[in-house]
């Protein structure tokens, strides 16, 4: 029996309105690879930030080697042997490998000595690195090596890895796993955060499952299936959808092998996404963030044009058209990010109403703004969607998240779209406002429009969708009726491999 390295006892962290972590307890053994499993927003990041000293817990404590452990800042954690590799790297592209590593060290050895050490450590763990190469010339996988080697040089006893494989090719994943296994065989414990269940199954010795900030389960991944772990993540308790009156009309939106390269190095490209969305239909697209959701929205809003035939609206090929033409034709969208994408933070609600409603509401005359009409429309959104704001002159930034979200959704819904695409429509919105938004979207469909809801909130999707599909690694599963769907099926769609999904 190995010794306990880190014991977490009742850690809690509260943010206004949210319990990010609620009485979380578990232990990590020396030399074990421990998985932290959970959906987005389950509290994984907050938890590891507390272990690494970036966030201070409100309640609870931790023991490292049986002694009180509560780092106030990351350097304290590092000195006590806790290292962390972040999902997004903090490297300077214009500096070389050794210089970047020096930046993170408290008392760096002389350069020649350090270079030797970098070469020695990186070769020892199968992550060869040339200390003199510029970061800008390295691949994403190589950059990650720099981050890992930077941690290893401090001889950590616990290494925290946040979604390490999301940026790697399958070959690089293999190399990384070898390294991690070697480390664990030398007694280093690894806290491994991921939602890729297959990886956890082959790599990890233990897993702790978080949901809504609480530990809901623990398991030994090797003894579980990807499906059973997905079920733990989702939780078996959500209400199954009731069968709704649903008589789909003619096809309004038709995606045919929609393919789009992601511009974001951490994004996911869309590969052959096909679907048919019919009049009166609400389709839910589930999936963990970063699996192509943003790209799908951009491809539909028109911000990223594709081949003309990949997107058809009521039979018209519009894939190569920009947002303004698409709006005129009836395809509207509400992006996930309210401030800075759906709305301009420092502009008034009046101007933000004009931003996307200009064409459909006829708010200009030969290019000149019709102020009266614009203000009336802004007022209509505020009244009908119960947006709490002192006036329509207020800047978008001054509204609370929920109120701004109501404004953004209201702005699109009131334009009477043929097809509306929304990404995370109720993210960070209080329960009452979320219910209003869902209701408005359902109503829109009932009036004959088609609605595509991209969301990570399964409960929400189950509540409002007629049909249901999963977006994973840029591919969309075959949509199927949401009614009668079981947790097992969803778990399979989310955690299962692509082959299973294609055969299903």
């Amino acid at each position: 029996m190995r010794k306990t390295l880190l014991e977490i006892r009742g850690l809690s962290k509260f943010y206004p309105g949210v319990k990010a972590n609620d009485n979380v307890s578990f232990t990590i053994q020396e030399g074990k690879i421990h998985a932290l499993l959970g959906e987005n927003g389950a509290g994984k990041s907050t938890l590891v930030k507390m272990i690494y000293g970036l966030v201070h817990p409100d309640e609870g404590d931790m023991l490292l080697h049986g002694e009180h452990y509560m780092p106030h800042k990351p350097s304290e954690a590092r000195n006590l042997g806790v290292g962390m590799v972040f999902q997004h790297f903090s490297l300077f592209e214009a500096l070389n490998v050794a210089e970047n590593i020096i930046l993170g060290m408290e008392d760096a050895p002389p350069r020649a000595e350090l270079n030797e050490k970098i070469i020695e450590v990186s070769n020892q763990y199968g992550l060869p690195l040339d200390p003199n190469r510029l970061i800008g010339d390295l691949s994403v996988g190589e950059r990650q090596r720099v981050e890992i080697v930077r941690c290893l040089l401090q001889n950590p006893q616990l290494l925290i890895m946040d979604e390490p494989t999301s940026v790697l090719t399958p070959q690089e994943v293999e190399i990384l796993f070898k390294t991690l296994r070697k480390l664990s065989s030398e007694g280093v414990a690894i806290l491994y955060i991921s939602h890729k269940l297959d990886e956890i199954k082959v790599l990890c010795d233990h897993a702790t499952v978080l949901r809504m900030g609480k530990v809901v389960d623990t398991c030994i991944p090797a003894e579980e299936t990807a499906r059973s772990m997905a079920e733990m993540m989702i939780g078996g308790e959500f209400a199954m959808p009731t069968v709704r009156e649903f008589t789909p009309g003619k096809t309004l939106l038709h995606l045919e092998n929609l393919t789009l390269e992601s511009l974001d190095p951490f994004g996911t490209s869309l590969a052959n996404v096909s679907l048919e969305l019919r009049s009166g239909e609400v389709m839910g697209v589930a999936g963990v963030a970063g699996n192509g959701q943003d790209e799908l929205l951009l491809a539909l809003s028109g911000e990223r044009p594709t081949d003309a035939g990949m997107v058809k609206l009521s039979g018209v090929e519009i894939g190569d058209m920009g947002p303004t033409t698409r709006r005129a034709l009836g395809l509207l969208a509400a992006p996930e990010e309210r401030l800075g994408h759906a709305a301009a933070p420092d502009m008034s609600l009046k101007e933000n109403a004009y931003l996307s409603a200009r064409v459909r509401q006829g708010l200009t005359k030969s290019g000149f703004t019709l102020f009266g009409k614009r203000d009336d429309f802004a007022r209509e959104i505020v009244e009908q969607f119960d947006v709490r704001t002192p006036s329509i002159d207020n800047a978008a930034r001054s509204l609370s998240g929920g109120n701004l979200q109501k404004f953004v959704i209201g702005r699109e819904v009131l334009q009477k779209p043929t097809v509306l695409v929304v990404n995370q429509p109720t993210w960070g919105v209080d329960a009452a406002a979320a219910a209003d938004i869902r209701e408005a979207l359902r109503e829109l469909a009932a009036e004959g429009a088609a609605v595509l809801v991209i969301s990570q909130d399964l409960d929400e999707l189950m509540e409002m969708s007629d049909t249901f599909a999963v977006l994973a690694e840029g591919r969309l599963s075959k949509p199927r009726p949401a009614a009668g769907m079981t947790v097992e099926q969803i778990g399979l769609m989310m955690g299962g491999n692509l082959e299973e999904r294609a055969n299903a």
Partner: protein, 360 residues
């Protein structure tokens, strides 16, 4: 530990007060500067800000210089402010000013000694096109290769200076000029002489055009779709893409407009106050206009006031050089202080200073 914390909503009164506050601080700090140089600070500040209006001997001449100097500043700054609001940083207005003067001047010289009221308008259009063409170089490089427009437009200023030198010693050199590096005089021929409308304030036709364009710019920015798209691009580029704005178009439009206005200002300068193309007709209006644009809060009315203020410091500065022997460099420092303090005061409008104990 002292920290800057963003304010929830910056006060709009303060936004308008900052330029005044900045000028006041500049006066105080400038006073210290002049005192350190052994001058009476009150006297120096009075000479710079008041003597141009009230001095018995210099007053009349100074007053007539006010609009002559403010005109180009206002015209150029108006163009620049449009780009600055979109986040398109044209720093090379000086080069566009020079190229506009060359292009427009060349048209006038080619037509020499034509007579007719159509000559000057034609030269003005050529001047605007010359400035615009020069500004399209950074625009196209930015659109095609994402080259930084700040660097490209700035470097093109020096290319323009050298081009000017080549022109006035070559093709555009006056045949009757005894070999001096300068063009024929535009002011000695009526058709190419920019008419003076109100002599005591130095209001020539170019100033009227500038004021008309200020109003046009205001209408475009506040009431027209294009102005909205320009502001939206500056506020939030991603929201602009969502709204269907093509960023390449905005870059081209902004650089094009600011180049055209700078080019026009250059043409007005050589057909009016400067009188001919020489290597030293550009006195840096293109650079000073950047300060004017920011001092005027990128707002047309603000720019008119800031242009007048800046012209005043030029004229008053010259008076101070003349009567107190303050070096020109000190006057430049004084003008630079104004932008510096404006930006500094701005920080405190948008942020507040808080004393915070380090979080344990």
């Amino acid at each position: 530990m002292l920290r800057l914390e963003p304010r929830q909503q910056a006060s709009s009164t303060m936004r308008w007060l900052t330029p005044i506050l900045a000028v006041a601080i500049t006066m105080v700090m400038g006073g210290f500067l002049f005192a350190a140089m052994g001058q009476d600070p009150f006297q120096a500040i009075k000479i710079i800000f008041l003597d141009p209006f009230i001095h018995e001997t210099f007053g009349p001449y100074s007053r007539s210089q006010l609009l002559i100097k403010a005109g180009p500043l206002i015209l150029i700054a108006t163009g620049l402010s449009i780009g600055f609001r979109a986040g398109v940083w044209n720093i090379g207005a000086e080069g566009q000013f020079v190229m506009g003067a060359i292009a427009g001047g060349a048209v006038g010289l080619a037509l020499y000694p034509a007579d007719g009221i159509w000559v000057l308008p034609l030269m003005t259009i050529a001047g605007a096109l010359g400035g615009m063409a020069w500004a399209m170089i950074p625009a196209l490089l930015k659109i095609k290769f994402n080259a930084n427009e700040i660097l490209v437009s700035l470097m093109l200023v020096y290319v323009a200076y050298n081009f000017l030198a080549a022109m006035v010693t070559g093709p555009l050199k006056s045949p009757d000029g005894y070999g001096f590096p300068e063009s024929r005089s535009f002011t000695s021929v009526d058709a190419t002489h920019l008419p003076m409308i109100y002599e005591p304030l130095g209001m020539h036709a170019g100033v009227l055009v500038a004021l008309a364009l200020v109003i046009a710019a205001y209408v475009m920015m506040e009431r027209h779709l294009l102005g909205f798209q320009i502001r939206l691009t500056g506020e939030s580029p991603r929201a602009a893409k969502f709204a269907g704005v093509n960023p390449a178009v905005i870059v081209a439009v902004c650089l094009g407009i600011s180049g055209a206005l700078a080019g026009m200002a250059g043409l007005f300068e050589v057909t009016g106050p400067a009188g001919k193309l020489t290597t030293n007709f550009p006195v840096g209006y293109g650079f000073t206009a950047i300060i004017v644009a920011f001092l005027g809060r990128l707002n047309p009315i603000g720019i008119v006031l800031a242009g007048l203020l800046m012209a005043l410091t030029y004229i008053g500065g010259e008076l101070a050089q003349l009567s107190l022997g303050i070096p020109a460099a000190a006057i430049n420092v004084f003008q630079g202080m104004m932008l510096f303090f404006l930006l500094a005061v701005d920080v405190f409008v948008n942020y507040r200073l808080v004393w915070k104990k380090e979080v344990k």
